[in-house]
Amino acid sequence: MTHTSQAPTSGSPRVSRRGLLAVGGAGILGAAGGFIVGRESAPMTSDQPATAATAAAPQTYDFHGAHQAGISTPAQQHAAYLGINLQERSTNALAAVLRLVSDDAARMMAGKPALADPSGMLAATASGLTITVGLGHRAFELPGMQASRPEAFAALPAFATDAFEPGWGDTDLLVHIGSQDPLVLSHAIRVITVDLSTLARIAWIQQGFRALPDPSGATGRNLMGQVDGTVNPVPGTAEFDETVWMQHPSPAINGGTVLILRRIRMLLDTWDVLDTGAKELVIGRDLSTGAPLGGTSERDPMPLAATNDLGLPVIPTDAHARLAHASTPRTRILRRPYSYDHGMHAGTNDVGLLFVAYTQDPRDSFIPMQRRLAESDALNRWVSTIGSASYFVPPGVREGGFIGEGLLA
């Protein structure tokens, strides 16, 4: 009896000390570990209170910089995506919204309350808060905005598997908010929606969550049980830059990216009928280790040409991982997905994935990949894409500037 009651109290401080040591060590070495890639302005010090979650990531990120935060920075535990439409369809209204959100973001990301925040105490702990702004296709249709549209921000074509339900489509703007703390996230959503209430309407808010980071560094899993994002490029590498950031002569576009957000419902009741071997054939990976079939560890290359003794492909021709495979940085995407679970409706679980991808040009990467998947992915039977929207995420700004400023000039 005494053993069990002692375990939690003695166990948790040990975890956080180890986390703090890891942060300190990585800082000294300047290594490009996942959690120090961000532009953290206030890295953890040993006298700050720590939990396992806060020890793994800095408390605050700088709103200002070459790129917006919330893309190369480590994905927080909780995220919300706000689809926003202007009330008055003009560049003036667009500029007002961008200015307002940028100001709120700069303050709240620094752990300070937004102007006139009646509950400013909720902003004191940013818990890794990032606020990222994107412009939708509709924004570039505004008078005076057509010429500013980046060529790479191509509209997504229809795919055979699209099963869109009303209410999750393209909007003028996207605000993506992420934080380790769901309370901080909720407060930031409230601040921004209240601040925009006279200028814009919120079309939808899509919220998601992630598993706590695996101490071994393994990729997070989605609700189907599979690791999700194994082949992601690592922030700080040339491969990441080539996959994600646009290279463009215009400073209003250079360093930006395209964000694709698709709402994918998971049909878990029928998925869970499959036994593990069948699921692995559908995905093309070992479910427990994430290794490609025929490999031994998660990051092994996919043996796409391998056949077994009988001559059957080791990775089935319609396996999800095979069809999603891309071999060069520009044809890949950065996956930054979140799971969602909105309980049960009409006797069915409303669960799934917020598929969030970043690419320097969807015509090189997402569109051909999604065409392959729509045509023959074995997984299609157990998922349904019920919403889709895409955005141009402008580069970051210097202090005093606002996101998207250069596009309006």
């Binding site: 009928v273 036994d275 077994n308 003794d309």
Partner: protein, 173 residues
Amino acid sequence: MRRGFARVLAVVLVGALAVAAGGPSASAHTQLVATSPSEGAVLTTSPASVSATFNESLLTTGGAMVVLDAERRSVGTGDARVQRATIALDLQPSLPDGTYRAAYRVISADGHPVEGSFTFIVGSPSKPEVQGTAPANAAGEQQSPAWPAIVLLAAALLGAVAVGWWVVRRVRE
């Protein structure tokens, strides 16, 4: 006395059920029913296609079929087709004489992968002959009959009941 026996019997039964549910034979109910050509068939003309039929319907996804000649060259054309409980593959026309092995992998509608193979001969067998029966693959499910497992399980069950009965008697006496 009677209550003691019932309790032992219940424990043994629950244990046996748990073993059966967790064991590898639990999903053995997806069975191969027939193949075309049949296993070991010697054909006078080259078949247009091969197929394997199971005792329950199959998912249209995740299926694969391949036919290899004695030199492991693939002689199929196009993709395997899954319809209800059958997976089929078209073959190249006029296959030369020799031994061929057709391999299949399917996922049954209730979620079990099954993998196996069968051989057939066009004209006269290849020399050296390819192996007649396929090794069961780790990814797939072995197409072995379930009765030895059932006999073993029944024997174990009877033994356990007998031991339990004996223990209860000893304790009571």
